[in-house]
């Protein structure tokens, strides 16, 4: 069983607002003082893959992580190997900067990389990248490879030649059966990825890393973007005039809050 998980490297999305420095001319966000990390939702996807590996102990399950970008850090991506992926394929090119590629271009690059990897029963992707939040690449890859895609999946069970999936819906879930190979977009409801131990981190350094460039995929030159990024500007946050409701004790403050809200007609 060959599983491929697509993982993006992003600047830590939980960094404070002033870390995301906008370069309006270059149309780039230049993170300052925050480390690159694995995109959170892609970690959900990898966790889903690891659970399949746990469940199919009697089988040979190989997990390959593929990542495309401009400057990819082995130290960051090795976390994926440390938690249990078997191999890492890096697709790096100066042109593959996060903001310069739209989802269409990204999906076509990843699909080309996956074709080159060649063997896959299941491809997993996260629901959206934690930097540009587009939420399209998984479906795009499936389209380019002409395989079925199922999105927002919280649970995967592999059976002979097909997979049984739980797909999150507005009021519950759907049980979906898909033939393999298929692409599955993991839902955030999969939950957090497991932590690697120190030993696993050390062992991960011995696992294979394959490095490809645009030329290896026949993808030099045009990026095939469908969107044009025109402008970047800071988001405006809501400003509240926070009225602090006080009291001699926190409990009294709580009672005063009730009174205040009632006086202001809010409760």
């Amino acid at each position: 069983m060959d599983i491929i998980v697509c993982i993006k490297q992003v600047p830590d999305p939980e960094g404070p607002q002033d870390c995301f420095v906008i370069n309006p001319e270059a149309l780039r966000v230049e993170p300052r003082g925050i480390p690159p990390v694995l995109s959170l939702f892609d970690e959900n996807a990898l966790e889903a893959a690891l659970r399949i590996k746990d469940a199919c102990r009697d089988q040979d399950v190989k997990i390959t992580v593929v990542s495309a970008g401009k400057k990819l850090s082995n130290a960051v991506l090795q976390k994926a190997l440390a938690v249990g992926a078997d191999e890492l394929v890096k697709v790096e090119d100066a042109a593959f900067e996060s903001g310069a590629l739209d989802s269409y271009a990204t999906a076509s690059i990843l699909a080309a990389a996956i074709r080159k990897i060649g063997r896959y029963d299941l491809i997993l992707a996260g629901r959206q990248a934690a930097d540009w939040n587009a939420g399209q690449v998984g479906i795009g890859i499936a389209r380019f490879l002409d395989i079925p895609a199922v999105t927002l999946v919280r649970k995967i069970e592999i059976q002979e030649g097909h997979a049984l999936l739980e797909r999150v819906t507005a009021d519950g879930y759907e049980a979906v059966k898909t033939p393999l190979p298929a692409l599955v977009v993991a839902s955030n409801e999969v939950g957090e990825m497991r932590y690697p131990t120190m030993i696993q981190r050390r062992e991960a350094k011995k696992k294979p890393i394959v490095a490809w460039g645009a030329a290896d995929l026949g993808r030099e030159g045009e990026l095939r973007n469908k969107l044009v990024l025109k402008r970047l500007f800071p988001a405006e946050m809501r400003k509240g005039e926070c009225m602090l409701v006080e009291g001699k004790t926190p409990a009294e403050a709580g009672r005063n809050l009730a009174r205040r809200l009632s006086q202001d007609g809010l409760i």
Binding site: P13, E14, F20, V29, D102, Y104, R127, Q128, A130, N133, A134, G135, Q136, I139, F144, A149, V150, T169, D171, G172, Y173, E174, A175, V176, K177, T178, P179, A182, N188, E189, G191, N225, K226, V228, L229, R231, L232, F233, P234, A235, M237, R238, K239, G240, E241, C242, M243, L244, V245, P250, A251, A253, G254, R255, A258, R259, L261, S262, L266, I267
Partner: protein, 331 residues
Amino acid sequence: MVSSEGSVLIVTEVDKNQEILPISLECVTAGKRLAEALGGGTVALIMGAGVGEAAKEMTHYGVDEVCLVDHPDLTAYQPELYVAAFLQVCERVNPRAILMGDTLTSIDMAPRVAFALNTGLVTDCVAVEVSDGEVSFVKPVYSSNVMAAYTFASEPYVVTLRSRAEEAAERQETADAGVTPVDVKLDAASVRTEVLQRVVEEDAGPKLTGADIIVSGGRGVGGPEGFEQLKELADLLHAAVGASRPPCDLGWAPPKSQVGQTGEKVAPSLYIAVGISGATQHIAGMQSSKKIVAINKDPKANIFKIADYGVIGRWEEVVPALREAVSEIRK
């Protein structure tokens, strides 16, 4: 027949009772502005099984035409069949732009449609801007710290609109538009991904969307017992219970109660945030609330910067007193 060549196609969604979703009416508002800029009309599309009434209702919202695809195989959303039907409509309407609400359905359907039409897609759009005849689509990126404005290098433009980014179109007594039924050919046997079962997991209590008051808990609430207490307060206020991400990840609160960038976008009259620090990803989902109350033990917590009322203190002491006082007032 569908006449408006080069128009804006608005994908209308209905709920279980065949009521048009508010987000679809918000799409109409954005769609009309977009159509004006592009020099075309607006076509609302309703797809489903037995959705004729909803299509008729849709004629009251100022669109130029309503397309109806009513087909027994479209009872519930199934990506392959819905996309197949949608692409047949596109062949007839030949739209320059396609607008959908940012719903769970469109998270799945919009990228399929965009890739099938070999075009681009802007998801989670919060503003459709027209200046000097150029239309751009703005969306939050980088944890809602940065806004990005896009134009398209391809057509049709495909855009999903975040709820509450626009006012909903108002209902008019007169219905100017006609309903045009569109026949589609679907082959249910060709479907690759088969839905075996649809399971409804009703959670108790009022739903987040549409709730007038929301009591929301964060990591500071400390565990499921804390959420029980928030539920008691919420019940007194006829409020829904929400949460930041950590309680959902940790199983203290159901995943569907998550408010924020990845969860529900809410705008109640009153949002009471308990033990929530106010990360940008959380604020992205609740900053349109009319009034925000923050209860947090850390006076420097970011949530106080966007709140209207604040109590600095441990919720374990503040909330029970608040609840008792509310129940006194409510008597």
